[in-house]
């Protein structure tokens, strides 16, 4: 057994026994780790607020490669964004980032860039206008897909490689757009030029700049359909993010 230390983002926790928690951490060095935090629910727990979702911590873990569940020894808060918890809608949208990481990140090798992307997204969400939150989370999802190695092709036709200027037919399983000449085939659907340009922007722009986009002109329904179907086609057992459905139900109490 080795004592290891790593920066990590707390994704979620489950209750374990009387006072303990099982915590999912997305760590810089070791990827996704599930750890037992003994006594974490007690009123005098040494973990305090460090195991709340979305908190960035320095975690000390007793790590044994043969075990699925590691033992969390200590956490120190590096960054906490209480603004994420101070609005139910903001909290639900921010949780989409955490749920995405928990369901999409595999293996025990770290992905520092993906961790930085997630932390930057949460930071942006904590101060962005409520209306921009949806496009920020879509930007995160597209950019995270790129980090994980399966970004959608949005600039040229998947078949003939000709540049796209008038939208196209989005094929989630093939992983991007096809031009009108090549045709999309079964399972494809039309994506307007506006939505295509927005998705290109979401994939290229730094996350903090997305907070300044004009949310009222954002083609949310089209982009959501394309991103969600793309994720469903490329992630195992993915039928949409649960947090996304909760965010929809909280929408009427935004801000």
């Amino acid at each position: 057994m080795a004592i290891v230390q790593s920066e990590a983002l707390v994704l979620r926790s489950f209750r374990l026994g009387e006072t303990s928690l099982i915590v999912s951490l997305f760590t810089r060095e070791f990827g996704l780790l599930r750890c037992v935090a003994k006594g974490a629910r007690g009123s005098k727990s040494r973990f305090g607020a460090s195991l709340e979702p979305g908190v960035r911590v320095n975690a000390v873990v007793y790590r044994k490669l043969s075990r699925d569940l590691q033992l969390l020894s200590k956490t120190d808060i590096v960054e906490v964004l209480p603004a994420l918890w101070e609005d139910p809608y903001r909290f639900a949208v921010a949780t989409q980032v955490l749920e995405f990481l928990e369901r999409a990140a595999y293996g025990e090798s770290g992905d520092p860039e993906l961790l930085d992307l997630a932390c930057e997204t949460l930071r942006t969400m904590s101060r962005a206008p409520i209306a921009s939150l949806e496009l920020i989370v879509r930007g995160f999802e597209i950019q995270a897909c790129e980090r994980l190695g399966y970004a959608p092709e949005l600039t040229v036709c998947l078949e003939c490689r000709s540049p796209l200027h008038q939208g196209g037919l989005f094929h989630p399983i093939r992983g991007g757009l096809l031009c009108g000449t090549c045709g999309g085939g079964e399972g494809s659907f039309r994506l307007s030029e506006r939505a295509r340009r927005v998705m290109v922007g979401l994939s290229e722009e730094p996350i903090p700049t997305l907070a300044g986009w004009a949310a009222e002109r954002y083609p949310g329904i089209e982009v959501a359909k394309a991103v969600e179907r793309f994720l469903a086609a490329h992630l195992e057992r993915f039928d949409g993010l649960r947090a996304s459905r909760v965010a929809e139900s909280l929408g009427q109490y935004k801000g």
């Binding site: 040494r46 906490v80 609005d87 639900a92 909760v246 109490y253």
Partner: protein, 200 residues
Amino acid sequence: MQYSSALLETVITELTRLPGLGRKSAQRIAFHLLRSPEGDAKRLAQSIVDLKAKVEDCRICGNVTETQPCAICADSRRDNSVICVVEQPMDVLAIERTGEFRGSYHVLKGALSPIDGIGPEQLKLSELIDRVKPGGVVEVIVATNPTAQGEATALYIARLLQNVPGLRVTRIARGVPMGSDLEFSDQVTLARALSGRKEI
């Protein structure tokens, strides 16, 4: 089957389904029951059957009860104009232990947890509105857990009830627990304790 008795194996299998009980503990309990007097085992079995048959949710507050309404809701000495909202029936017990609260309760049966898909529809929120809307309630104290989920739930409730005339929605204080040391408190807990400070 590991044992010569299928019945013993069945009891062990059923016990391992309980939270926090592994197979070893289940075996210990099963053998203890086997060795204990018949009356003890029968009382335990009957109490479990009675629990499932007779205990239900109070139709007013959602707390667990054998009578309708529960003893707290039926107690005329309690102040029904103040409702304390908690996540689980266990939280009612914790607040009752303080002996400080003489109002009534409302049990939500959870908290908003987007990652688990728990939204407002999964909580007993419409029942809370039904209790508050007719009037007569002057204060709703939100005593959800001091976690991200509990905070989000508290704010959701505050927004839900913000237009009810004459109603005050309050949140229990959060901060440093008694008997602990400031030195070991994290920045979130201390910040909350400072922002919620009171004049002495």
